[in-house]
Symmetry: C2
Subunit: 80 residues, 2 copies
């Protein structure tokens, strides 16, 4: 018998969705609020909130700031 | 004795540098010109040229367009 829950291929998720998922996961693993991540990355709290809601087309430089704040390589934020 | 050539950790390269390196590598592997990549990604040729010179702070949506044109996952463009 086949499992009833279909598996969605990772590539179906947009880059914005992947980023939001990974950011939230890494941020919560550190027990950081959005405010804390914003502070560590030198960005605004509402900017972090927008990125986590897929509402913002973030630039590469800001993606890199978030990665450094979370102490990961930039590409990790976009991993499926 | 220590080896005389120091190895630079990949994380020293900026996200812009990694992107440029990977884009050029993948584009040339397909034998594509900047014009061809621009056409496939729905972007302007000078935009591609600027990204490949690290002169442009590309957005995530445009990064995703380039990845799709090159038929790779978005994160691959930022791999060290």
């Amino acid at each position: 018998m086949q499992p009833t829950t279909p598996t969605t291929p990772p590539s179906v998720l947009s880059a914005r969705s992947l980023l939001a998922k990974n950011m939230i996961c890494l941020r919560q693993a550190r027990d950081w609020s959005q405010e804390r991540l914003a502070l560590e990355a030198g960005l605004h709290r509402t900017f972090i909130a927008h990125v986590e809601r897929h509402a913002r087309n973030i630039s590469l430089d800001n993606l890199e700031k978030i990665a450094r704040a979370l102490d990961v390589e930039t590409y990790s934020l976009l991993l499926p």
